[in-house]
């Protein structure tokens, strides 16, 4: 695919050493002029297996994450199309799906247990495998070393492990789709006791076990990746790249990784306790349960405890999903509006604010668990405060666009779409953050509509913006813009047509996770609306294949990219068009200025890359910059 350029010879003269690894170590251990480098596998003729499969190059690993994520996204989207078929045409025959679904179609109807499994797997796949691993795994890996000016991640080996743990986790989750009792079916939040009792429903059996094993592997992958991202940002920034000169993408990835390091271990704890409850007879989450008239021996457990542990991860998780998208959107908006991002420091501050607040709002998912109303109002208060940093970001994005010299590239359209979806979805967050309103809306389609807009679709738009924008750096070719426009409009209109009506049926009380609603008079009036949502969802999903085609076609046949196709200021565009392992063939450029010198008054060009010193830009320097130039 890439990598046709001659490789820099990176064989290290001094082997980096450290405590955790096990490589034999020369005596020159201590810091200072020690190179940090794990590239000793890098020889001129590498076996393809080491170059493309077990690669330690962050760019190859990023592509592995991206393509695995895309496969998962297709699967997750297919599952949603299946349950939208059921919701849109509850009386319709699904006989024609028998060749694909086999025994899950009974007498022309979708098996209700399988419907639950579809919903569960759709959520799990989209939240974890696509929007966590596929989004931050791809772009943190790809952009952090390139934008901070490093040859690779702090530990290429750990980075490779991170992908392969994700791969293993994917294999386990994927296999669970094919077992006899079906995949996990307790919802992506896997609340006990439904998930804790293997005999409860078919999906609580082997499918649930595999779900837990898969998630444990996934958490290991996230930790290995996150630790690497943070270390790279802290230690491997090039000369001059102070924290206040970092592109906002890097700030977003950095804080996302910190959130992951602090919140995923808590999910691991919860999963471990759940595994013990399921398989080792403990009662952490189980108490006073009767199944078919039989009392279980489990005593003293608390299912609400699981919810606390789960949402302590679960809430930061939604910011793990959205913050990388926010960072990339900031970058794409500034580049294509040819304007500095409005309020650079406020953008960093709001990211930090969101990160801190994300840890203290988890119980707003649990207003109906019978919690103390006082506690509920504390969480409500903290939740509503998140509107402040979110509002700062939105206004800054809008102010960046204001009177910009906007170039409507496909990436830019998706970035603007992101802002639109984030506003639409964010506003309903204010409604749901209110305990009193949430108690009414809880578990209705209003919630589904809210989080699909604000975190699901928005994060997808960030992902698309990122792929269209950085595709030239990834593959040395451009994606087709026309197909990009078609893809954008289908998706953008599709998303609104799908989720706007959901708010409406949600307010009317239409419940989530119901296989059939035809038995309820109150909901039957929404039959047409449901059909409409289903048609829109399936068309929007099919529209994604335009993107898939564009992506793979452009890898091989796309127009060749130039060095800096978007006239962007950040460091990744100073590398060769197809950078080899090590990123820069010569020295790593030093950085002199912030990443948003677009349309600077007095400058001859409308962008000044970060590695251009002030001594070369006398015409546009501000007085204090002029001082630095001399």
């Amino acid at each position: 695919m890439s990598d046709m350029t001659p490789k820099p010879n990176l064989s290290p003269s001094v082997e980096a050493q450290g405590g955790i690894g096990s490589a034999p170590v020369p005596a020159t251990e201590h810091d200072d002029h020690l190179l940090h480098d794990d590239h000793h596998h890098e020889h001129h003729d590498q076996h393809w297996l080491w170059k493309y499969v077990f690669s330690q190059d962050h760019k190859v690993i990023a592509k592995q994450f991206l393509i695995t994520g895309m496969i998962w996204a297709i699967l997750g989207g297919t599952l949603s199309s299946l349950f939208r078929l059921q919701l849109g045409w509850p009386e319709g025959s699904m006989e024609w799906l028998t060749p694909f679904l086999g025994k899950w179609i009974q007498a022309g109807k979708l098996n209700p247990e399988f419907y639950l499994a579809l919903v569960t797997m759709h959520g799990t796949i989209m939240v974890f495998f696509v929007l966590t691993a596929g989004l931050s795994g791809t772009f943190s890996n790809f952009l952090i070393p390139l934008q901070v000016g490093a040859r690779d991640m702090a530990s290429g080996f750990m980075n490779m492990l991170s992908y392969w743990f994700f791969f293993l986790s994917s294999i386990v989750m994927f296999s669970s789709l094919f077992i006899e009792t079906g995949p996990a079916a307790a919802g992506w939040t896997i609340y006990p006791p439904l998930s804790a009792l293997p005999q409860a429903i078919p999906g609580s059996g082997a499918g649930m076990t595999m779900w837990l094993v898969s998630m444990a592997l996934f958490i290991v992958s996230q930790l290995l990746g996150g630790v690497n991202y943070v270390t790279t940002v802290i230690n491997l920034r090039t000369r001059g790249m102070s924290m206040s000169k970092l592109p906002l993408t890097i700030w977003a990835f950095f804080l996302t990784a910190i959130l992951g390091i602090l919140s995923f271990p808590v999910l691991f704890s919860a999963a471990l306790l759940l595994i013990f409850d399921r398989s080792f007879g403990t009662s952490f989450f189980l108490s006073d349960i009767y199944i078919a008239g039989q009392a279980l021996s489990n005593q003293g457990g608390s299912p609400v405890l699981f919810q606390h542990l789960f949402w302590f991860l679960g809430h930061p998780e939604v910011y793990i999903v959205i913050m990388p998208a926010m960072g990339m959107v900031s970058e794409v908006l500034a580049t294509n509006a040819r304007k500095p991002i409005f309020g650079y420091r406020a953008m960093i501050g709001s990211l930090i604010g969101i990160s801190l607040l994300s840890f203290v709002v988890w119980a707003h998912h649990m207003f109906v668990t019978g919690m103390n109303p006082f506690l509920g109002s504390v969480f409500m208060f903290l939740t509503l405060i998140i509107a402040v940093p979110s509002g700062v970001k939105v206004f800054n994005w809008l102010a960046t666009l204001w009177r910009g010299n906007i170039r409507f590239t496909a990436a830019m359209l998706f970035a603007i779409g992101f802002v639109s979806l984030f506003i639409s979805g964010g506003l309903t967050g204010i409604i749901l953050g209110n305990a009193t309103l949430d108690i009414q809306m809880h578990n209705t389609y209003f919630v589904v509509a809210h989080f699909h807009l604000v975190m699901g679709s928005s994060a997808f738009f960030g992902l698309f913006a990122g792929v269209y924008h950085w595709f030239p750096k990834m593959f040395g070719r451009m994606m087709d813009e026309k197909l990009g426009y078609i893809h954008f409009w289908l998706t953008f209109v599709g998303v609104y047509l799908v989720f706007m009506p959901m708010h409406y049926v949600g307010i009317a009380g239409f419940p989530r996770r119901y296989y059939a609603w035809t038995g309820f008079d109150a909901f039957s009036q929404f039959a047409d609306l449901n059909k409409f949502i289903s048609i829109a969802a399936i068309i929007a999903f099919l529209g994604q294949f335009i993107f898939i085609f564009n992506f793979f076609y452009s890898i091989f046949r796309g127009r060749r990219a130039t060095q800096n196709p978007w006239n962007s200021t950040t460091l990744e565009w100073t590398t060769p068009i197809e950078p080899g392992h090590g990123n820069w063939p010569g020295e790593i450029p030093a950085v002199y200025r912030w990443p948003y010198d677009y349309s600077k008054p007095g400058s001859e060009v409308d962008f000044i890359p970060q590695n251009v010193p002030y001594s070369q830009t006398h015409s546009s320097n501000l007085p204090y910059e002029q001082d630095m130039a001399e």
Binding site: P8, N9, L10, Q17, G18, G19, I20, S22, P24, V25, P26, A27, T28, E29, H30, D31, H33, L34, L35, D37, A150, A154, S155, L223, G226, V227, V230, T231, I234, N235, L236, R237, T238, R239, G240, M241, I261, L262, V266, S269, L272, F276, F280, G281, T282, S283, F284, S297, Q299, G300, G301, S302, L305, H308, L309, W584, P585, G586, E587, I588
Partner: protein, 196 residues
């Protein structure tokens, strides 16, 4: 083209720590979060009632002393490495390994004492209070095994004269991790002592 190897001196200073030190500290934070989840879950669960009190075996106190001693010997090994006293370094690491193993055996025997006191991990007679004790001890023991592997690796390096006053990174990291594991156990012991 003869690219320069990436020198840390070409980099921004950052926190001034070696990347591997940063990795270790981040991993320690993730372990802290895991135990924070367990112990806060313990408190939340206890406050909901239906909580069986249990006796902590005395053997845990002996184990705590063992692990505190192992931290001391690790520190001694570290100080010896600084002063290039390689013989003492090896002895210190050896003692640390032995005490660490003794701690693990001691924890295993404490499981027996817990069972003898009718505190069970699972089954019909178990209560989450007891199960939590096993989980806390077990997960800590798992991390202690990783710490032992780490110390063993450093010992092997020390035997090859690869650890000395100008090569302190690996033993520095191992010492940090070992102290963390010791401190973590003392926290858990104190926590159980106050909250059983």
């Amino acid at each position: 083209m003869n690219p320069q190897p990436e020198l840390l001196s070409e980099k921004e200073v950052g926190l001034g720590w070696h990347p591997k030190r940063v990795v270790l500290i981040l991993l320690i934070f993730s372990i802290v979060m895991m135990f924070a989840a367990f112990t806060s879950g313990y408190i939340v669960r206890r406050d909901e009632g239906n909580w069986r009190e249990f006796d902590l075996p005395v053997s845990l106190l002996i184990n705590s002393v063992l692990i505190a001693l192992s931290s001391a010997s690790m520190q001694w090994a570290y100080a010896s490495a600084r002063k290039d006293e390689i013989g003492r370094l090896k002895t210190g690491l050896g003692i640390t390994l032995a005490l660490g193993l003794a701690f693990l055996v001691g924890q295993y025997m404490s499981f027996g004492d817990l069972v003898a006191g009718n505190t069970y991990f699972g089954g019909a007679d178990a209560n989450p209070s007891g199960s939590f004790v096993y989980v806390l001890m077990g997960v800590h023991a798992f991390h202690l095994i990783t710490g032992l592997v780490f110390v063993a690796v450093v010992l092997r390096r020390a035997l090859n004269y690869q650890v000395h006053s100008r090569a302190m990174l690996s033993i520095g990291n191992a010492t940090l991790y070992w102290h963390f594991l010791g401190g973590l156990w003392l926290y858990l012991y104190l926590f159980l002592l106050l909250n059983h």
